[in-house]
Symmetry: C2
Subunit: 314 residues, 2 copies
Amino acid sequence: MVLMHDVIIIGAGAAGMTAAIYTCRKKLRTAILSIDVGGQTNLTSHIENYPGTGPMSGIELMRRFQDEAVGFGAEIIMGKAVKSEKTEDGFRIGLANGEEYECKSLILAYGKVPKSLGIEGEERFMGRGVSTCVTCDAPLYKNRDVCVIGGGNSAIEGTLELATIARKVYLVHRRDSFRADEITVEKLKNSPNIELVLNSVSTKVIGGKNVDGIEVEDIVTKDRKELKVDGIFIEIGYVVDTNFVQHLVKVNEKKEIIVDERGNTSCPGIFACGDITPVPFKQTVIAAGEGAKAALECYKWITGGKGAVLDWTH
Amino acid sequence: MVLMHDVIIIGAGAAGMTAAIYTCRKKLRTAILSIDVGGQTNLTSHIENYPGTGPMSGIELMRRFQDEAVGFGAEIIMGKAVKSEKTEDGFRIGLANGEEYECKSLILAYGKVPKSLGIEGEERFMGRGVSTCVTCDAPLYKNRDVCVIGGGNSAIEGTLELATIARKVYLVHRRDSFRADEITVEKLKNSPNIELVLNSVSTKVIGGKNVDGIEVEDIVTKDRKELKVDGIFIEIGYVVDTNFVQHLVKVNEKKEIIVDERGNTSCPGIFACGDITPVPFKQTVIAAGEGAKAALECYKWITGGKGAVLDWTH
């Protein structure tokens, strides 16, 4: 006999944990099912723009979200969801380890997975010199040389974090300028052990037993050169992976789950929020807000519309 | 010569102050123009569902938002905006006191104003026995009898707060059940000095020099009776007041400013977020998320689209 939850939330980032805080406070029996706790916010070493908490690491902020969700009664189940099906009473979710869970409703909030470069050597050295998580792996490169590939906030913050640990950090970016916060870009330009390699793309990871370097190509001159580095951090963004639910909910051309402004998907009883949807800007506070919407919409659905309100003030 | 701001944000609640945090971090010269600091969040005595901070009063949470916005460089100007016009370079805002401010872009985030009951005596005793702010006026009713009109979270939280100060608190609600969090409703039912007056509407404020009571009508039996009280708190929600900008931006049938999913209004250079828009559920964390979206969209507009990004991770 499988235990029936009122709601299973897949994903434990800002969106999923906020959704859990809300569903638990509505006394819905809530489980969070996730491969990690914290999601992409974990990857930011220093968050200053989540209002109300003051600056702290992404990991610390997500630990607080977790403590609150668990404090209100959320159960956290570690595992990767790989199967979903409609049942008579709701939904059944299958994990990679064979476990199954049943629920009346489902909130999809598991965000994105790191994009890969698709270049020679990348896959071979993944986890052995090539990393997609600065916060996780930076300590391995004390006084060594590394490079970061990318040009967004994550790449720049990763570069700044690495510059405090590594001897030298190359930042390889395909454009000639950055789209990140001006404050952050200034810090980058003022760091003596950071070298910007602009207008350039990576073409090959070079190495034998370990990573020895990365080949980069200037996109204007087409010249190629090798940067001697011990570690390579890929920070070029994330992609959605919604394969296991696409038979239940509609997705857009980017495979993101289509939602209305309240987190309803095309399937009654399934809600989605955060980076797995087309919500713009991918900020922690935005994901949290979307998680609250999806949870309140879910509560309304479970209670047969009795919870529906348009004039709540708090 | 009037000083030109990059952006003026009207309203200093969760949406407006989050917008300010974001525009300031983008180095936009930012002013917040408001009649108060904190907005409707101030009215909640105890917020447990804003993720990441732990429980605290709405006033304290909003003070933190304010400290962060000011810390990043936002200027706060106290005053009521009553006039808006398009200029060659942007917009001009006129205050009730005659002051004028100019800006390249405008973020409307000033939320709602309290609804009135429209009953006899209400206007006459407003501010002299009739109040729309429990947090502000509860201390005036120590060991006295009061009533609260309403059935949403704010009414219930106000009732609970008053019950710790007043001798007796009547809660007059037009329905026979509550739509608030179950946890909150339980607290209400367990308080010995709270009396629920359900299926009832208020019909008249009774008094001479001061408030003596309120007349209520049972909507089923049509029976009327008087509750002897010294104070009446109206907590029936809020309405939008967008009169001073309706010649610039489109509004819906509720007079809420129509926005897309990124906070764009019908007028280029004007953005809106929070309770002044049709955003659902009216939660602090949702308003904060919407404030971040509008600010990032505003930044994109001011920088001529250069800031436009769809793949930001943080």
